[in-house]
C-alpha cells in the first residue's frame, strides 16, 4: 500500500481553501508525536486558526489515551488551534460542530450518507470514518486554547489493529482514491462557517447534529471508565450532553462510549 501514499500537495489544498483564518497558518509535518500536543504546548504556533497536519503521529491519541493508528500519506490527521471564543458554556458546540463539518464535507464531495455517533464520531454505514479529540488549557476559569484534533480515514483500505467500532475509509466506501487536499480544505471551510453559526445561531448546531444522529430514541448502553449504564438515548441538552432515560429518571451523561443494545 505504501506506493499509493503520496506527499500532501499544499498548493492544491490552498487553492480550495476559502477561509478567513482557519488554516491560514498551515504547518505540515512528516512525523510528530501528536498534532494536538504540539499545538497545546507550542509557543511558536500560537496564531488563532493554525492547522498542523502530520503524515504520521508516533503517539496519536484518542479518548482514554487510546491509540489512533493511521498509515502515513493516506489519511488526514490534523489539529486546529482556536483561541477566540466566548466562554465555557458553549465549548461543547465546538465539539459537535467539528463532527458536523467532517460529515458535511464527506457528503458534499462524495455523496456518501454520513451519520454521527455521540459525541463526535463520524460513521459511514455504521463504521467509523473519522474521530475527533479535543483538548484545552484553561488558566483558572478562563479557557486559553482549544485544540480540535481530527483524524479521517481517507485512502487507507487495510485496518489491522483491533477497534471498538469497525473502521472504514472514504476510499472504501466511495470506491476511488480521493484527494486529501480537497477534503481538508472542505472540512476547514465548513468548520469556519459553523464557528459563525455557534456565535450567532448556536441552537442550529444542536438541531443539525441531532438530524444526523440515528441513536436518539434508541435503547443504548453507555460505558465509561468504571460503569455501564443502560437506558434510552432521549435527547441531547443545550450543552450537547446526552440525556439518558432510565424508567422515569433522566440522567445527564458527560462522556462515555455509546452503543446500541
Amino acid at each position: 500500500m505504501k506506493s499509493e501514499a503520496r506527499l500532501f500537495n499544499i498548493e492544491e489544498f490552498d487553492i480550495k481553501l476559502d477561509t478567513e483564518f482557519l488554516g491560514r497558518n498551515f504547518v505540515y509535518c512528516d512525523e510528530v508525536e501528536s498534532t494536538n500536543k504540539l499545538l497545546l504546548e507550542s509557543k511558536e504556533f500560537n496564531q488563532n486558526g493554525t492547522v498542523i497536519l502530520a503524515e504520521f503521529q508516533s503517539g496519536g491519541r484518542g479518548r482514554k489515551n487510546r491509540q489512533w493508528v493511521s498509515n502515513s500519506g493516506q489519511n488526514l490527521t490534523f489539529s486546529i488551534l482556536l483561541k477566540d471564543f466566548t466562554h465555557g458554556k458553549k465549548i461543547n458546540l465546538f465539539n459537535l460542530a467539528a463532527s458536523l463539518a467532517v460529515a458535511h464535507s464527506i457528503e458534499n464531495l462524495y455523496q456518501l450518507k454520513v451519520e454521527l455517533k455521540w459525541p463526535n464520531d463520524v460513521l459511514i454505514k455504521n463504521k467509523k470514518a473519522a474521530g475527533i479529540l479535543l483538548e484545552s488549557i484553561s488558566k483558572g476559569n478562563k479557557i486559553e486554547k482549544l485544540v480540535v484534533g481530527i483524524g479521517v480515514n481517507v485512502n487507507q483500505t487495510n485496518f489491522q489493529n483491533k477497534f471498538d467500532i469497525s473502521p472504514t475509509s472514504i476510499r472504501k466506501e466511495f470506491k476511488e482514491i480521493v484527494s486529501r487536499e480537497r477534503l481538508l480544505s472542505e472540512i476547514l471551510n465548513n468548520y469556519e462557517s459553523l464557528l459563525k453559526v455557534i456565535k450567532y445561531e448556536p441552537e442550529k448546531i444542536l438541531t443539525d447534529w441531532k438530524a444526523k444522529c440515528k441513536m436518539i430514541g434508541e435503547k443504548v448502553k453507555i460505558t465509561d471508565y468504571t460503569s455501564v449504564k443502560y437506558g434510552i438515548f432521549d435527547d441531547i441538552d443545550q450543552n450537547g450532553f446526552l440525556i439518558l432515560k432510565t424508567g422515569d429518571k433522566f440522567e445527564k451523561i458527560h462522556f462515555g462510549d455509546v452503543s446500541l443494545r
Binding site: 466562554h87 461543547n92 465539539n95 484545552s136 468504571t226 450543552n239 462522556f255
Partner: protein, 158 residues
Amino acid sequence: MDINLIKRLIKIVEQSQITDLSVQEGELRVRISKNSNSASQLKYQTVHELQPSSIQMPAQAGEPVRDTKTAGKEVHADNIHEIRSPIVGTFYRAPAPDADPYVQVGDVISPGMVLCIVEAMKLMNEIESDVSGKIVKILVENATPVEYNQPLFLVEKT
C-alpha cells in the same frame, strides 16, 4: 466581652460566606463584616448601644456581595483564591485512573501548573493555576460531575 470570643467570631465569619455579623452582650455590640468592595477584607468594629437584639444576620448573609472585578475570583479571606471550573464536565485529579494526582492539599503551586482535568464529551480540559500559592482545600471528589464556574480548589496566595 471576652476578647477571645471576639477572635472566635472573627474566625467564624472569615471561614464562612457570612459577610456581616452583629452580636450584642449587655451594652456592648460587636459587628464583624467582610468588606466586599475591597475583596472581602475582614474588619470589625465595636459599638456601644442599648438595642436589645442579640444576633443579627443581615439579609445578604450567605450571599457575598461581589463587584464585577472580583466576581468569581475572591469570595473568602483576602489571600484565599478560588479556582473554578471553566466548563461543565467530570472532574479528575489525575491524568489517568492509576496515576498520581496532579496536586495534593499543602502543595505549593505556581502559575501554569496543571491542577486537574475536567472532561466533557471527548474534550479534555487541563486546568492550570493562575496564581502562586498553596493548595489549602480540594473542594470536589475525584471523578464527580462539576458545573460551570463551580469552585474546585482553594489556594492561599503567596
